[in-house]
Symmetry: C2
Subunit: 332 residues, 2 copies
């Protein structure tokens, strides 16, 4: 059906469908989380006025909404956002310079004038209270560069990855299996490729450690028509709560000590290190000025800790986690 | 006297004297801190083997010592180090690329082959327990590039700056006055220049806020013979405990609430943001691979926190601190 439409109309439909998929994920996943926790998210919409973000509903066609859940019964802090921005990179800034992309395909447009782009996506970072429940991050996004009706370059990106403070192998297997099942429906080459991409990307290079036990990650995905990739990404957005929430249910009432809680804070400290030194989204937001910092830091943990020597005792659960982080494993 | 010596001998004497000044500061200041706290530092020497740092006394001529004070009565966490490294930047890496310098004067040597350098310095980051006592950072360093006996480029850098969670103006004035007095002995232009340099450098650009209420900072200082600048830097190292410890004595027994403590964690979160996104020393260490990450992160706070909206209530002490951070003040 779509192919019989004018290209402009086809492009308009694609953007509408893409925004709607991410909005649906934003709403459905928040609802599932609220139900599990019994605590409501607060919502903060932002609007862009004179090149700065101010609190309030957008009057234009760019939408930026943060949601935060603080001090829940199960979740200590959750940061979520949904975005559909019609914007322009500041003159001289490029996607590569801004840290949004590893390569410069998106930067062919003369950036002296300021590069027009459209971006939509949704992002979740969940910090559970119980240290036995892993942190999770999930983000799916669509970017295009150039005129909104005739982009010169576009891509999908995103993924989901798990960061346990205490590793239960069955949870790692469940999380990976759920994502592999979605990948396999589209291309059996996807999961091995996106699993490795995730291990490579969520790597804290100065520590020589992975951030967690991975999941899937991809970026600059545009090898098929956007409509086809959107179907795949849609299924990824749907599998996320199925991949994560059962783990929460299983572990949320496990007993833990203050020592376990302190170890969770150490793990969260590593998380902070990754976000501030390596995360593409955070770097893009900070460098481009296109995202307000309150939204960027919505993903930060409620409490993180550093000590001088955080090497765990030999043979401990903490040490066996560290060993896995030094050497990513195959989970399925 | 010095000028009658051979240049090589003169250079040898300079390096010996410089290392000794920083070593003296390292030892004397740690001793003063231990006396105040009643808690001893632990010491960890590092040595470089096969291009990685391993724990242990150095067998070569490069010295790297960390000291940490954890869980003291007055100080919650202190990270200190002393270094005298005879090293080589990895091929292709430059001081500018590594984030160590804003300009490329030090990078004229062919970096394809790996740039030989010598660096010595000492660094203190002190996180007090009581939120009424400010965090302090102090670092003085000497760098030179090229052959150790005939450097092609050299400079002194460093400074000291105060980061209060609660601002007592008399403490800010005391800290600045002490540093101004040293500066004025050498050049009345120093303090205004180094005070502004400090405000400009310790600025968290994504927040549009200063890290704290400043102090002094300088880098690539080489406008006078090194022997003369060393005298100035020596006096800076000596004034540091006099500038800071009386503030600790005055505030360490003030009463505080859990709300004050939580605000301190928020301020420490900003501190983490600065270190990981902007700090020259941390960036150099991470990018060059010349510093092990355990030492780099010795400066990190014992507990930091982020929340969604950390805007303090109008008219509160926290709000008046934020106002000062948005608009640096003259303190003397």
């Amino acid at each position: 059906m779509l192919t019989t439409l004018e290209p402009k109309q086809q492009q308009e439909n694609l953007l509408k469908a893409t925004k709607s998929v991410f909005r649906q994920m934003f709403d459905d996943t928040c609802q599932a989380i609220e139900q599990l926790d019994g605590t409501a998210f607060t919502e903060q919409p932002w609007t862009r006025e004179n090149n700065t973000w101010v609190m309030g509903e957008s009057k234009g066609d760019s939408i930026y909404i943060d949601r935060a859940l603080l001090g829940g019964t199960v979740f200590e802090k959750i940061g979520v956002n949904y975005v559909a921005i019609n914007g322009e990179l500041p003159p001289g800034m490029t996607f590569q310079k801004a840290g949004a992309l590893a390569t410069d395909e998106a930067d062919q447009i003369d950036s002296e004038k300021g590069t027009p782009f459209f971006a939509t996506g949704t992002s979740f970072v969940i910090h559970p209270r119980n240290p036995m429940v892993p942190i999770v991050h999930c983000n799916y996004r669509y970017f295009q560069v150039g005129k909104i009706s005739e982009p010169q370059y576009w891509w999908f990106g995103g993924g989901a990855d798990l960061t346990p403070a205490y590793l239960f192998e069955e949870d790692a297997v469940h999380f990976h299996k759920a994502h592999k099942a979605v990948c396999d429906q589209y291309d059996v080459a996807y999961y091995p490729r996106f699993k490795k991409w995730c291990d490579d990307y969520f790597h804290i290079s100065h520590r020589g450690e992975s951030r967690g036990i991975g999941g899937i990650f991809f970026d600059q995905l545009n090898h098929l028509p956007a409509e086809q990739l959107l179907e795949f990404v849609t299924d990824c957005t749907k599998v996320f709560p199925q991949a994560y929430l059962p783990i929460v249910e299983r572990c949320k009432d496990m007993s833990f000590t203050e020592e376990n809680k302190q170890w969770q804070r150490i793990v969260r400290g590593r998380y902070v290190e990754f976000i501030l030194t390596s995360d593409r989204g955070a770097r893009f937001g900070l460098a481009s000025g296109m995202v307000n910092h309150q939204s960027i830091f919505n993903c930060m943990p409620p409490a993180a800790s550093w000590t001088y020597d955080d090497q765990p005792n030999l043979g401990s659960q903490e040490a066996s986690l560290r060993a896995v982080l030094k050497q990513p494993r195959e989970w399925v």
